[in-house]
Every structure is written in C-alpha cells, then in structure tokens.
C-alpha cells in the first residue's frame, strides 16, 4: 500500500503521531479502568495507581533513572521546564541566584529564565558557535560561586544538534551547581542515561516520542545529590508534593508505553531515520546554494535544517503546503513571522534564516514519502528561484550581499 497519503508529515519535531500500540494501551484507562489514582479505597483507584507506577518504571528505565520515584509527571515539557527552573531557583535561593543557559534553548526555558531575571535571579545566556554548539569551557568560564543551576538542552529542536552534555554536566558539578537538561527532542530517540550523563533534572514529553499530548515529566535526581524543587502548582500534594493535580492516568499510561517501545525499537528506528535523513540531505545539498544548519558531526538523525538561499521559506512552504507538512522553525514560534532566533544565533542573516526549512522524521516516515518530498521541494525551489531577481543576479555572478539598496 502506498504511504503517499497527503499531506506527508515531516514535522515530527513539532509533534509525532500516536503509535497505535500506545493508543491501544491507553484505551482501557479511558473506559473500564477509569479510576482516580489518588483514590485509596477501591480497586478502580488501585488499578489507576498501578498503571501509573508501571509507566513510571517504563520511563525510568528508558532514561536510566535509579528509581521510578525520580519521575514527576507534568502536563508536558513546558510545565516540566518551568517546574525545574523555578523550582530550583526557589528551593536553592539561599545557596545562590545564578543560572546559566544558552540562547538557543526552547522558549519554555528562555522565557522562564527571563521571568526569573525580573525576580532578581542572575541569568547568563551563553552564545553558541556558528554550528549551534556550546563548549564545556564556556560553561566553566561563566560559573560563579553563586551559580545554582546550568540548564542546557540535550538536542536542539530546530537544528537537531546534540550538546556535549556529559562534559558540561561534569564542569557544572565541579563548580558546585546542579545540571538540568531539556531532553524533549532526545528522549526515546537517542540513548539517554541520566546517571552516566550526570543529569540532575531533565524535562521531556510524550508527544514527541509517539505518546499523547498533555503529559510530560520532570526527572528529579534523588541520590548523589538529592535534588528538590519547590512545587509550582499547589494542591493535593500529588507527585511527592512537587506537582499537585489529579494524574492524567490514560496519558501517563500512553507515555509509559511509548517509552517502552522507544527503548525496544531505538536502534531500529535510529537506523531507519538515519537512512531517510541522509537521502534527503544528499539530494538537497546536491543543489546549488543549499546549506545545512547545525553541526553535522553532532546531530541526531531526526531533524534536518536546511537553508535554500534565494528562496523565501514561508513562500516555499506555500508551494507544497498541501502535500508536505514541514516547518520553518519550531512549532511554538511558527505563527510569528520573525526569523528563527536559533538560526540568528548561529550568525545567519535574516535572509538566509528566512529561507530555512526544518524537516523532521519519525519511525513512521517511509522512503517513498521522502522521495516524494525531495521531488516536490526541489521543484518548488527551482520554480521560486526562476522568479527571483536575486537568484538571477547570483547566476550572473553578482554578490547580492554587497549591493546597497536604495530606499524608496
């Protein structure tokens, strides 16, 4: 059967389809096992609690956590990022008030850090190099005796670059601070081991790994060191007092199942996606004036960010919007017409940043779909370039970057 059902979905960094096996696991918790996990007096409550415990174990296993108790369920990665950052800032306020992060983090981290700045927390936003990378030395240089937390994402959501977080965590610990990472684009896709990597807190979510939307988690280390965060949502004291609110049992069950499947299929998925990514990139990079964004040597295969120079990205997307679903940046900012702040941080000018497209893959993406996308995108780029005076000038050997345009 053809997999060319339109539109072809290559925006899996925004969200992934729910795996049918995940949905199957969830269904009973919508229907006959519908209890509240906090109901202590009857089997419906116990069944819900058991299911939540199993999911906690499945997720703990996926990330190499020492205990399922280290998993605090939230409504998603954004809430987990908020809880981790604000929770540490509140809990460790007596020890210090300095947080180090980067300019290419997800908005959930950046906006939360900016809010903390207003409350008097000192935040250092580290710049990335032209490949989107941070070095451990940068972190070391930014550390002060007041530093309580370093929060650096594992895999960037727009570029797919993977930061050297093991080394960064080591430097962080040498400076006496806690290390947090936003693992949203990494967990379930590449091996993550919180102990081997030295992670103290990690935010991640189900809907980027074939689980449902509306559920995520914050990993909070319990031993060496015992990390605590101040709750940001007060109430019944669920989740060891760190996050109140009736647990989203079916969502959590789906998250757990998704984690189990990712652990089982990780190598297979990785090989599959790598092959597709390589094919797509090879085809596009063969074209003139197409550039790959992000460090090619430190990436996950799930995301490919390419700039098609002399083509306006949003316009390009219009060209194949009906057939192919991609993104010009992160979904959370795609309604805005501003060029991606991540690409700008790499030093791309507005024009090149505007000509960029993020392709992101999943275990469900097929070679047939990728072939189709290559063909469609290539044709659209060619057509748009034919209409572009800049492209014409480039072809005639004029360096468009040196032209001084007259105001009118």
């Amino acid at each position: 059967m053809s997999t060319l059902v339109s539109p072809i979905y290559l925006d899996n960094a925004a969200t992934t389809p729910v795996d049918p096996r995940v949905l199957e696991a969830m269904i009973p918790y919508f229907t006959n096992k519908m209890g509240n996990a906090a109901s202590r007096n009857h089997p419906f409550g116990w069944a819900a609690e058991d299911a939540v415990d199993l999911a906690r174990t499945q997720i703990a296993n996926l990330i190499g956590a020492s205990s399922p108790k280290e998993i605090i369920f939230t409504s998603g990665a954004t809430e987990a990022d908020n809880l981790g950052l604000k929770g540490v800032a509140d809990m460790y306020a007596r020890r210090g008030n300095h947080i180090i992060t980067t300019v290419t983090e997800h908005k959930a981290v950046i906006d939360t850090c900016k809010m903390l700045q207003k409350k008097g927390v000192d935040v250092t936003f580290l710049e990335v190099n032209e490949k989107g990378m941070i070095t451990p030395e940068q972190v070391r240089a930014a550390m002060t005796p007041k530093t309580i937390l370093v929060s650096i994402m594992m895999v960037n959501n727009e570029l797919g670059v993977r930061q050297p977080i093991e080394e960064i965590a080591k430097v962080t610990h040498e400076g006496g601070a806690l290390f947090m990472t936003d693992g949203t684009q990494a967990v379930g896709k590449i091996p993550v081991d919180v102990n081997a990597m030295g992670i103290d807190l990690m935010a991640f979510t189900a809907h980027k790994m074939y689980g449902p939307k509306g559920v995520g988690a914050l990993y909070v280390r319990r031993k060496r060191p015992r990390v605590k965060v101040t709750a940001q949502m007060d109430g019944g004291g669920h989740e060891r007092g760190m996050r109140s609110g009736t647990l989203n049992v079916p969502g959590i069950v789906g998250f757990g199942k998704a984690a189990e499947l990712c652990a089982l299929d990780m190598e297979k998925d990785h090989a599959h996606v790598s092959k597709l990514r390589d094919k797509l990139e090879a085809a596009f990079l063969e074209m003139e004036e197409v550039y790959l964004n992000g460090d090619p040597d430190a990436r996950t295969p799930y995301i490919s960010n390419l700039s098609f120079k002399y083509v306006e990205g949003e316009g390009l997307m219009m060209g194949f919007n009906q057939e192919i679903a991609v993104s010009s940046g992160s979904a959370c900012t795609s309604a805005s017409l501003e060029p991606s702040y991540v690409l700008k941080a790499l030093g791309l000018d507005d024009e090149l940043a505007h000509s960029s497209i993020r392709f992101s893959f999943s275990r469900f993406t097929t070679e047939e779909q990728v072939d189709y996308a290559i063909e469609k995108v290539r044709k659209s780029v060619e057509r748009m370039r034919e209409l572009s005076p800049l492209w014409e000038m480039y072809q005639e050997g004029i360096d468009t970057s040196t032209i001084e345009w007259a105001a009118h």
Partner: protein
C-alpha cells in the same frame, strides 16, 4: 462486578466523548501551532472546543483558557490575581479544595497576602452574613479583595448561592473566583447573569478526560501566565495543547449541558432514594452537609453510627465490590480524616462515607449497596421493619 459510587473523585468517560477524541490521536495528530494543514486541523479543533465551552457558560471565546485541570486553573486564577491585580486580601472558606487552600497558604507566605475564612453552619453552608461582614471590614483597607469560594463542595455537596455572592462582591468591589469543578455541566451557570471574574472547570468530573481543564477569565481583567515559554492560549498558558483532551472536554461539556435538567433529576432521584432507604434501615444514621437542602445531586456524605461493625466500613464495602470514599481523593497517602468534615466540628464520632453518583448509576446498584450494608452492619431487617 464493582459498583462505582465515587464520581466526585473522577467519572467514567462517556463513549461519545472517547469517539470524539480518538481521531485527534489517530489522524489529526498535528501540533496546533504548526501552520501546515495537519497543524491547522488541530488548531480548528481547539478553537471549536473553546467555542463550545464558552457557549455552555454564555461567555465569549476570548474568556476561556485551557489548562491541565482544575488544580492548574485554581493556581492560575489565585496567583494571577495576587501577582497582577493587586489582591492583598483573600476571603475563602475552610471547606475549599486543597488546591485553593494550599495556594492561598503559599500566597500568604510568598506575597504576604491576608487570608480570611467565611464561617459555616453545622450543615456546611457558608454564612453569607459573615462574608458580607468581612467584605465590609476590608473595604476600608488597602489592597484589592478576592473572594474564592467553590460552587459545589466535593465532600459534602453543599451548593453556594453564586448569585448572592456575586452581587455581594460587586457591591464591595471584590473580585470573585469560583471553583465549579463539581458543578460545571450539572448546574447551569450563566456568566452574563452571574458575574464572576474567574471560574474553574475540569474535564474528568463530567465524563470527560483527565489531564484537561479550563479557566474562565472575565474580559474585564488581565493576568499574566504562570507557565511560560510559548504563545499558546493567547499567551496565558504555554505548552503544546492537549488537543484530544480539549476536544474531549468540550464534547463532555456539550453533552452534559444538553441533558442538564434530565441528568440532575435522575441523579437527584438516586441520591434521595439512597437517603430514604438508609434512614429506614438505620434509624440513627445522619448525613453530613445538607443533602435535602441546598446541595448537589452528586454527593451524599453519610455519617454511620460508630460501632464494632461500622469501624472498617469502607474496607468492607470495597471487599463487597462497592467503590466509595472517605473524603476527597486528592489528599493522597496519609489518612488524617477529612478537613471538610473536621471543619464542621460535629460532635459525633461517626464513620463518614461519601457516596457520589453519576448518570450511569442505577437504583439496582443502590439496592445491592443497601443489601451489602445490611450484611456488613449486621442489621436485622425484620426487626427494623416491625418496630
């Protein structure tokens, strides 16, 4: 076969709600913030759901904000009011849900907010004269006043006179937040007629999904988000929308409002039937709250006379396949007794059990419950009948 009488803790999902949700996991799985077709499909569903919820309350769509549930909504309303609206005094009651009480405690500590409790009667009704007195006393003080009172109590079922409180708040220029988690979809609320500033609702108490709720925020006021990092919910609540959950919440709310009168009548009948049968069976049985007065149809909190047989009643009921509760489900872990029942300062040491009903319960189920109770409590039916 179990009989589920713990619908104040959570309700079974309706089949129609599940059917409405499934396509948003299977086919329309997009991120609503994505501008491509798959994303736009999800966006349309979220906005349609917002319209449905707004219609249930006669609110405008711009006043509905989706959250992860009642707890988050209550946190957002209370913290936003203090942080952004100059609230320095919060009037609430000892009978509120923990997520309101604990949030207010946090605000006392972190922001120096002053807390005041409206007094209540033995039957669990809030004393509106005491509320008015508080409002009057505070009207001379600096700082905005917020009244946060739930519509239907989750443990004893008492209903607040929303209109009266709303008018009182307007008279004294106070903001009004109400937690309607137990009543939204069961009792009509029209925000055009009953002015509130914040109103909290949740999906899983009205046969919708867990993990989703909403906060109504009156157009007249403006607060900042608690959760940052994305422009979702018009900058009021960052985070990828729980699309299937939002669709399910809206479907459940629409269904509930379509049959609001019938459902109330049916569930009310169940409650009164159980009350009467219990009174027949156990002459000295009592009820906490005011179940024959101003009270929701959903909850019946029974005070069984304490004796050898009733001591482990909840456990025995469970063994007999009856699911009920000793209080709110949310006070996870340690059994310290119900803060609501304790606040009523009743002079008895009864065994308190909350039975809570839904439209899916039947009289046959209640008859089984009554039979089981007779066995557990060793009641000789013949004797009681002949006396």
């Amino acid at each position: 076969m179990s009989i589920y009488l713990d619908n104040a803790a959570t309700t079974p999902l309706s089949a129609e709600v599940l059917a409405a949700m499934l396509p948003y996991m299977k086919v329309h799985y997009g991120n609503p913030s994505s501008i491509h077709m798959i994303g736009r499909k999800a966006r349309t569903a979220v906005e349609r759901a917002r319209r449905s919820i707004a219609d249930c309350l006669q609110a405008s769509v711009g006043e509905i904000f989706f959250t992860s549930g009642g707890t988050e909504s209550n946190n957002l309303a209370l913290k936003g009011a203090v942080r952004d609206l100059g609230v320095r005094h919060i009037i609430t009651s000892e009978l509120e849900h923990h997520c309101v009480l604990h949030t207010v405690e946090m605000l006392e500590k972190a922001y120096g907010v002053k807390k005041y409790f409206v007094s209540q009667s033995e039957k669990g009704h809030l004393d509106l004269t005491s509320l008015e007195q508080l409002l009057q006393d505070l009207s001379n003080k600096d700082g905005q006043v917020l009244v946060s009172l739930m519509h239907g109590n989750n443990e004893i079922g008492n209903l607040l006179d929303l209109d009266a409180v709303s008018i009182m708040c307007q008279n004294y220029g106070a903001l009004f937040h109400t937690d309607t988690v137990q009543t939204f979809g069961f009792y009509p609320i029209d925000v055009q007629k009953t002015k509130v500033h914040f109103l909290t609702g949740s999906g899983h108490k009205l046969h919708g999904p867990k993990g989703v709720g909403f906060l109504y925020i009156n157009d007249e006021i403006n607060i900042q988000p608690n959760m940052l990092g994305g422009s979702q919910e018009r900058n009021m609540r960052a985070g990828t929308e729980n699309v299937y959950g939002i669709v399910g919440l809206a479907k459940a709310a629409t269904l509930a409002h379509e049959q609001i009168v019938e459902n109330e009548a049916y569930i009310s009948d169940l409650k009164h039937y159980l009350m009467e049968e219990l009174q027949q069976m156990i002459p000295d049985v009592q009820f906490n709250g005011d179940p024959s007065g101003r009270s929701t149809c959903k909850v019946l909190n029974v005070a069984f006379p304490a004796n050898k047989e009733s001591e482990l009643l909840l456990l025995h009921l469970d063994i007999a396949g009856i699911c009920a509760s000793g209080g709110s489900a949310c006070s996870s872990g340690v059994d310290v007794g119900s803060h609501v029942i304790n606040a009523l300062q009743l002079d008895n040491n009864s065994i308190n059990i909350r039975f809570s009903f839904s439209k899916y319960n039947t009289k046959e189920e209640l008859n089984i419950l009554l039979e089981k109770l007779k066995t557990i409590l060793k009641i000789n039916t013949l004797d009681t009948k002949t006396i």
